[in-house]
Symmetry: D2
């Protein structure tokens, strides 16, 4: 293991619990828009995934992210967790954007289909999520990841449980 | 957004392509065992997920990881991508451990069920993956994430395509 | 389309709503055991899937089913819906078997992996389901389908929502 | 178990292997269109699911089906296998419709999200499938089930392996 090959990256983020607490007094859309505009900090996981921009509309969320070498897996490609994390983020945000103040959600399941490998050469990717079904106790969403040329890399679906805020799930 | 809340973490890793190239001349099990022992570097994504130990047997892989604040999502919990990334890792490694030299794989789909939220209080988690079906062209695996008390946090399944090494998928 | 090739099958079942109503006054395990013993009728979908035997323990359900020509798809094999239906049945029953009287469930998602084609030559298959996580508001289960030699044909997972009986979901 | 509650249904279908053999000499689209027009018989599983009409375009398939009492589960609703079977059918047909003569496919995984219960009162449902990604060795599709008013009941995704016709998978 050659010393010459070592490299490093420093990620900087804000306290996620402070932002989450601020979110309790807002509707999902208000909270996510403050985040997208930079009035509230992006969560640290988005910093780790190198998310560079976010847009949130009612029922719809888009994140732009730039893959880094530190996202690589042991077979020389960006790890599937990068796409799964982005899809989970935009699909959950799409659902969150439809919840009024006082409603919370938790992800129950996340299904990801991988159709093309992501590498550093892929360049920035666009993760898009949108609500498919909004219910009183559960909601579903779908998402996809494309590059600047519109080529598809991954797509997926999720089910979230919706409940009065503050409760834990399970 | 208070300056006082800012924090940072520096991750250090080795060139993932050098390790991947070394893997081409080894069986999956040989490659992964060298990684687990530290003779080859862990991939950077494992560094980002704070994987602290790995064990690989034929058809079976276990990673221990310690959640960090930088894995948090916007609602005050460890992001679902943390568990999805760990499950993808151990399930893919379980399949990889059964492949002879010259065979490669790519993940086609990853299904994750979340049953309990992970937080910093959870402490280190153990992600376990094992092969369910090993076929000539496709394989499946299952995985789960538990804490030191054996409590379940997430579980999932995957399908990987298996093919002669060097080819891309799709 | 030759007349000579036509064939038919007559399925006979009992009113499913009468059995379902009887189930409201029983725990899940009591209800399913009455069904397995023949004291209450099997649901019609099980008749269509040619389920010939059922065993239910707490958290565990097994159905034996014999594939028929009428389960075939347009490419000359038993349709994937046969395995999906059996897996959904045994996984949901495994969860149902853990619910006290007054608790109901509904399936939120069903993930099936197909690893080997089922044909008439496969003979009777055994579908096994067991609970993975039992929660107050959601539960998960896993299942698999094997033949008399123990060869695997399909496996899967499910998430069910659990709620006070009588309510609808969504 | 009252005798008075017994009811039955006779399903009639054509030899599925004769149709499948005819399909080997046709492109996927030609084969499925002959089936939709009635020049080749619908597969028996479609008869069991009470599919009353099918339309197939390149990369797109729609089946109309009428739920029957014999599709009911033990909790008084149409079984989840009904929707899973229809989704698998239309998604696989959507992929099949893009395959040239000599190419075959097999379903690797099927993910179904249930968002609303189907009952006899639902009336006829429309299952729609469309290709998401068409690759040389694997393809993905998505599907949904709606009623005559456009209300959503279930949606899902699938991955199919694509290979030269005549080979088995796994």
């Amino acid at each position: 293991m050659s010393k010459a090959a070592a490299r490093s990256h420093t990620f900087t983020w804000q306290d996620p619990l402070t932002a989450a607490a601020a979110g309790l007094g807002l509707s999902g859309l208000e909270y996510l828009r403050k985040m997208a505009k930079g009035d509230l900090p992006m969560p640290p996981i988005s910093v780790l995934m190198n998310v560079t921009a976010a847009e949130v509309e009612e029922g719809h969320a888009v994140f732009t992210a730039q893959p880094l070498e530190c996202h690589y897996n042991p077979i020389g490609l960006v790890h599937g967790g990068f796409a799964a994390t982005l899809l989970d983020s935009v699909m959950a945000c799409a659902i969150h954007s439809r919840l009024p103040q006082g409603q919370a959600y938790t992800t129950l399941d996340l299904n990801t289909h991988y159709v093309r490998a992501i590498t550093l050469e892929t360049g920035p990717v666009r993760a898009e999520g949108k609500v498919v079904h909004l219910g009183a106790r559960m909601s579903t969403a779908e998402g996809r990841i494309i590059d600047a040329q519109g080529r598809l890399y991954a797509h997926g679906t999720t089910t979230c449980m919706v409940f009065p805020g503050g409760q834990s799930h399970g």
